[in-house]
């Protein structure tokens, strides 16, 4: 009897749609895009999209775990610019080897995230305010770093991170796939993953269960910024330059991916894979609009509508 009701619950249409809805939407979007543009469903474009989507997915993974703890991080877009500048500066000004430059940028990301996390968790200040502030600080620092100028002329070993291939697969995609696997493991198999959900579900319950709320929240922001820094390196490598204006509005893409992917904006619920699919949706949408000659200004509006609609659908279900 109980099994019966459980099954019924499992297959209830609305739950199912909520869980996999964005996946169906993605399929639908691909179908429509293929019909509207002949270039869309080509191997060339598929690889192009795969390369485009990789850093967005990496951003969404980090943003996803922060939102699962009922937090938010607005600083990821600006951090992309700053870490891109650091990595580009390291290879071009200081002639550091590529791996050292990447390491430096990622370390900077971790420190930046720790700072975000400590201010938010330790001093109990709204994540929205703190990351709004640090977003501007990071953007400002990115401009200050080279007096507002871009850093160009980067070695091939560096640009390969964004442009290279391993066999047929773009290197950013390989980095992205490894991180997705790690994050899925983290969220489903580890204590830290459970604690992130628990804190988002009910911080007081988590505290009373003896969970180190402070440490866990700080870790979430550190991971988020670390991933954003890595995404920044990939963007810089792909563009063959450090650009202080890079990543403008990427926080919007990251947050939209997470919400589209069905992660509850108020924390505690949702799958990190949802964020991955959400990021694919956002990127494919942008790509399809591009191929059909829709201006990037209109793309902003379309993405905004998609985000609001997604938030509306998921919020409605909550009540």
């Amino acid at each position: 009897m109980r099994n019966g009701t459980k099954l019924a619950k499992h297959f209830s249409m609305s739950d199912h749609l909520l869980k996999f809805g964005v996946l169906y939407l993605l399929v639908l979007l691909i179908a429509v895009a293929s019909m509207m543009s002949r270039q869309f469903l080509t191997a060339q474009n598929a690889l192009n999209v795969l390369r485009q989507v990789s850093p967005v997915i990496i951003l969404a993974l980090g943003e996803g775990i922060v939102i699962i703890t009922a937090g938010i991080d607005l600083s990821v877009g600006a951090l992309v610019a700053m870490s891109g500048m650091i990595a580009a500066g390291a290879v071009s000004f200081w002639n550091l080897p590529t791996f050292a430059a990447v390491l430096l940028a990622v370390l900077f990301g971790i420190v930046f995230g720790l700072l975000n996390g400590i201010i938010i968790a330790k001093f109990n200040i709204s994540a929205m305010i703190v990351t709004l502030a640090t977003m501007n600080a990071a953007r400002g620092a990115a401009y200050l770093y080279n007096d507002g100028a871009q850093i160009i002329g980067l070695p091939d070993s560096f640009t390969d991170i964004g442009r290279g291939y391993l066999g047929p697969i773009p290197i950013p995609a390989i980095i992205m796939i490894i991180l997705v696997i790690l994050m899925v493991l983290l969220m489903n198999q580890t204590v830290l993953g459970k604690y992130l959900y628990a804190i988002g579900g009910n911080e007081e319950v988590a505290r009373l269960a003896g969970i180190g709320v402070l440490k866990t929240k700080i870790t979430a922001y550190a991971i988020c910024s670390m991933f954003a820094a890595l995404a920044g390196v990939i963007y810089a490598a792909r563009m063959n330059m450090g650009d202080p204006a890079m990543g403008e509005g990427l926080e919007m893409d990251a947050i939209a991916s997470v919400i589209l992917g069905g992660i509850n904006l108020y924390g505690g619920q949702g799958s990190i894979l949802g964020a991955v699919i959400g990021a694919m949706f956002i990127t494919v949408l942008g790509n399809a609009l591009n191929l059909n000659g829709v201006s990037s200004f209109w793309q902003l509006v379309v993405k905004a509508v998609a985000l609001i609609v997604a938030a509306l659908i998921y919020t409605k279900k909550k009540v």
Binding site: R2, K6, K9, Q189, T190, V191, L192, K194, Y197, A198, G201, N202, E204, V205, A206, R207, L208, A209, G210, I211, G212, G268, Q269
Partner: protein, 509 residues
């Protein structure tokens, strides 16, 4: 199994004091607990029981005092430390995460691990299943907690405390929402834990349970430990006297309202069903001017849900609501207020007062419209009204501009009352009007409610404290499982038996 050292002290609290704002919650309380002892901790609501236990389990920090666990001394504990030293607590309010499974909840914060932070999922599930079996509880460990009934949740809450090592087990009113069958499980598990040498602290308002289960009792009254006795030496009547500190006498007085006994509120055949909440099944209710109707029901009886439905905060399948003889077309809080219905909710801190606003602004909130012209507030009129009610209810503050946060619980509740009374309602709905406030303010609020009744106001009072209803209500309606199972009229001088009420609340008519 090794022989536990019975009689050895497992935990000791020394001179624990705690203040909340202006209220003294605990005053130099000392208490010892031995291995294998089941201690019943009793006291009226607000006596400090939960505060003391929250200090022992690390949820709260004491202002002064020492906690000794197995001889180790602490000035305060964190929840993780307490759990590590074997202090496990079953909270009065459920502390479960609805989106996680039963097994995940039971092992939250104490996950069995392997490698760098990986969870032994299978082992956690097996252990959780074993704990449930020990209780003979039939719940699937993979089910999400959101899908459980409230009694099942309560059982999971208890099981959660059994996942770690247990030196001290604290049960804070675990039985309020348990059914008879689940009580049997609990009564079986406590002696087993006692045999294993755990010290158990059991908080309950059901004194017969205390008498049955506990070896000894400790009585708290207004933050002071007033008695420590062996259960065998005292009767239930003694316990009640210790708790109240006076002989109980019926404070009930008959209504003196002489006017027209007009029907103020009528609910006809109200049914409301909503996923995950108590279902209301065909409720009928009448409240007349100049009377206090009391509603008694345990958790899950649907008492608060009824009031929510009345304000349109739940989906209503059928039924009619009439206020002052007028049928309500659409139910919303705003409509109800404009018909003169004031609702003092049960959750004072979240739904009653704005803690970071001044007393004046709290009281003024619903009457700004009445004291303003073209959107401009007439400050003189506002101040007059606020002052009148502050005086009338004798609210103790440093002034009308003091933050509500700085007031004691009792005075905060008076602020909430003042806010609604300023509207001049014809019906006052009170949900747990004196929860968690001190005895002094309590009797003041009771007196005030009686005065309002005598002036002709209709009052609907919900309470889970029977003595409160006995002293207030002119009629007591008992709710169970979303219906009203009986009505107990009052006659001055005639006492009502608690048993009769409890029987209606637990077994139905």
């Amino acid at each position: 199994m090794e022989q536990p050292n019975r009689g050895q002290i497992v935990a000791e609290l020394q001179d624990i004091s705690k203040r909340f704002g202006g209220t003294v919650a605990l005053n130099q309380v000392s208490l010892t607990l031995k291995k294998g002892e089941i201690l019943g901790l009793i006291g009226e609501n607000g006596a400090g029981k939960s505060t003391l236990m929250n200090i022992m389990s690390g949820a709260l920090r004491p202002d002064t005092g020492t906690i000794l666990l197995n001889g180790k001394s602490f000035s305060h504990l964190t929840p993780a430390q307490a759990s590590q030293y074997g202090v496990q607590i079953v909270h009065q309010e459920l502390s479960l995460l609805p989106d996680m499974t039963v097994a995940e909840n039971i092992f939250l914060g104490k996950e069995l691990q392997k490698g760098p932070g990986f969870i032994r999922k299978q082992e956690c599930r097996d252990r959780a299943r074993k704990i449930l079996e020990q209780f003979e509880i039939d719940i699937d460990v993979d089910q999400k907690v959101a899908e459980l009934s409230s009694a099942q949740k309560q059982l999971v809450e208890i099981c959660k405390s059994l996942a770690g090592t247990i030196e001290v087990l604290i049960l804070d009113e675990p039985t309020s929402s348990l059914t008879e069958r689940e009580m049997v499980s609990l009564k079986r598990i406590l002696p087993i834990l006692r045999e294993q040498g755990a010290g158990i602290i059991f908080i309950s308002h059901k004194l017969d349970e205390i008498k049955e289960l506990c070896d000894s009792i400790a009585v708290l009254r207004d933050g002071n430990l007033v008695r420590r006795e062996q259960t065998g030496d005292v009767t239930i009547e003694n316990m009640v006297q210790f708790m109240v500190g006076r002989d109980i006498h019926d404070e009930y007085s008959r209504p003196r309202f002489q006017g027209d006994r007009k029907l103020v509120l009528e609910i006809r055949d109200l049914s409301s069903k909503q996923y995950g909440e108590v279902e209301l099944k065909g409720l009928n209710l009448k409240v007349y001017a100049g009377e206090i109707v009391g509603i008694f029901g345990l958790i899950g009886s649907g008492r608060t849900e009824m009031i929510k439905a009345l304000h349109g905060l739940r989906t209503i399948q059928q039924g009619t609501v009439l206020v002052g003889g007028k049928q309500m077309e659409k139910l919303t809080p705003k409509r109800m207020i404009s018909e003169g219905v004031a609702w003092v909710t049960e959750d004072r801190r979240h739904e009653g007062v704005c803690l970071s606003m001044s007393v004046k602004n709290n009281i003024g909130m619903p009457i700004y419209g009445q004291v303003s012209k073209m959107g401009f507030i007439n400050n003189r009129r506002l101040n007059e009204t606020v002052e009148r009610y502050m005086k009338h209810l004798s609210i103790k503050t440093s002034g009308e501009n003091a933050w509500a946060e700085t007031l004691s619980g009792g005075n905060q509740q008076k602020v909430v009352l003042a806010k609604w009374l300023a509207l001049g309602p014809q019906l006052l709905i009170l949900d747990e009007p004196t929860r968690g406030i001190d005895v002094g303010s309590k009797s003041e609020i009771h007196r005030l409610i009686r005065e309002l009744r005598d002036e002709g106001m209709a009052v609907l009072a919900i309470s889970s404290e029977m003595p409160e209803l006995f002293s207030l209500a002119d009629r007591i309606l008992v709710m169970r499982n979303g219906s009203i199972t009986g009505e107990i009229p009052r006659q001055a001088g005639e006492s009502v038996s608690e048993e009769a009420v409890m029987k209606l609340a637990t077994l139905g008519a």
